[in-house]
Symmetry: C2
Subunit: 212 residues, 2 copies
Amino acid sequence: MATRIVIFEDNEKVRSSLVTLLGNESAYVVTGAHPDASDVGRRIRQETPHVVILDIDMPGMNGISAIPLIKEVDPEISIVMYTQFEDDEKLFKSLCAGADGYVLKKTSPGNLLAAIEEVRAGGAPLSPAVARKVLFSFRDQRQSSHAKYELTDREIEVLQLLIKGYSVKLIAAELHIAYDTCRSHLRNIYRKLHVNCGKEAIAKVLAEKIVL
Amino acid sequence: MATRIVIFEDNEKVRSSLVTLLGNESAYVVTGAHPDASDVGRRIRQETPHVVILDIDMPGMNGISAIPLIKEVDPEISIVMYTQFEDDEKLFKSLCAGADGYVLKKTSPGNLLAAIEEVRAGGAPLSPAVARKVLFSFRDQRQSSHAKYELTDREIEVLQLLIKGYSVKLIAAELHIAYDTCRSHLRNIYRKLHVNCGKEAIAKVLAEKIVL
DNA sequence: GCACATATCACCCTAAAAGGGGATTGTGGA
DNA sequence: TCCACAATCCCCTTTTAGGGTGATATGTGC
């Protein structure tokens, strides 16, 4: 069965060239091509696409806002952003809103075909520069340290309970140690983390992704 | 100039077929092909590759451990993992260790060539299933809500200071309000977040990435 | 005007946390 | 052997946080 595609793209020229490009392939059927994202829910319901090609900068509703509306109709529909924008803001917002791919317009039209294939195969087609940004961001968000503060095993145990919101008394009970022992560990932790109270410690640990 | 490539792959057959595949392309020069990652630093220094193809499961040192050693020699060297493993553990560890791409062996050899091209172009070549996992993980880590708890603007201000580790007194001073007013806001916040104390609130907010 | 939410402030009391000072074991290394 | 350090516990004081129960002003919407 042919892949059903709907296009949202305000630029007349780009839109018609996409329709031509995709129309030449028997594997694709363009069931809709619109210059804006108004009434996007109804259109998607009528045109039942497998893949939506979505521009970001359009008059009226912008492409990013349209993403959740499309996924609301059917979360199985794949959304590929097709845009000239390379800035982190639009990129991250799009991906977090639920876009499955992000292809830059400066790449060749053939790449868009490849992206459609990839997204149909369950992939996440990203232009090289975009993939790089996502990878770097991904990496940054997963860095964890905890070694540099030289916490002991026991201190890490105490800290893990602390950042779950446990009170000192509860931590002591959980670890089967005396209240004062627990306080003693906490004091050492505070000293090592250069903080003055439990709240600061929680904030620091979670903000810097220590322990985990 | 041809792209210089070094291969680490313990399987004799796979390794030689890679050498043949890449040798047939004039754009590539394989300057090294090794069955394990022992002495990886010295080898990389001698063979000065642009791109390293790295298997994960090898006798002796595994591929993931080799990543930082390669990047240590020259962080400009691109590393493409080439493996049969699709599990999250190896994938995330590889990417966090500094791998620039992750290609599954089950994909066609042509995809490996495409991946080398993509990584040379500054991209992050990921097999479709892998790209999907990275994207989902990326999205999960950036979800923020704060609307669903119906906090008022003022409450959000107070909460933002709280999660920076500020004491009640400090928050009050910062916002130029009375200590009791601040406590009043905090009580309302705790009620709305269904928590019982500031530490739980901080833990909940940072763990669920509310506000921000 | 009235209901309602928000933001502001006040006072009381208890519980929890933090800061400071100890002390005792046991383990592992210099 | 002795020292350092981790882990355990105890006592004391001060500060902070939290629960309860109010009040007042200021908007906003019907």
